[in-house]
Symmetry: C2
Subunit: 104 residues, 2 copies
Amino acid sequence: MLMEGTTETRGQEQTEKSEQAVIKIGNYPVMESALEVLTILGNKKKVVLQSRGNSIPNAVAVANIITEKMLKGNSKVQKINLDTVEAAGIGNMTSTIEIILIKN
Amino acid sequence: MLMEGTTETRGQEQTEKSEQAVIKIGNYPVMESALEVLTILGNKKKVVLQSRGNSIPNAVAVANIITEKMLKGNSKVQKINLDTVEAAGIGNMTSTIEIILIKN
């Protein structure tokens, strides 16, 4: 018998999950990525920008374009997470960044 | 006549200022920068890593090396600031990052 509480939190977790979108920022033109984020923020409360290695400056640029230009005053950086991932077997480390943008 | 209060806060501000160091992270080998940060954190409480454009991944890597390896458990990322600077005259924008590391 599933405990009432657990289904409810899962349901709540699901609504939280469905109010956010994760976008991987790679080496594409920054303005294209920014427009994509803008469209998603049209119907989601939170967008998580994920990037790694040499694409990190693109993720920073997209976050700046959204919060300082396109949605100035209506969005902000909620949190930034830095981490490192190890490429399997080869052992060299790659930096990763996660920039969480939210609509005010 | 300088108000007592102002000299005192300036003095206090000075001690706060002298307890931190600002380091510009450019395109040098990441391990060299990390060792420099480690030495400075030997006698300062706070180090501000500043970087821009394509050097941003290096600053993220240095922060990860310090907090996840060299000073694991004794240091953490206090705050991260993202911004954009406009190159004079040419008008193209460059992303900047400021990662504030503190010793626990």
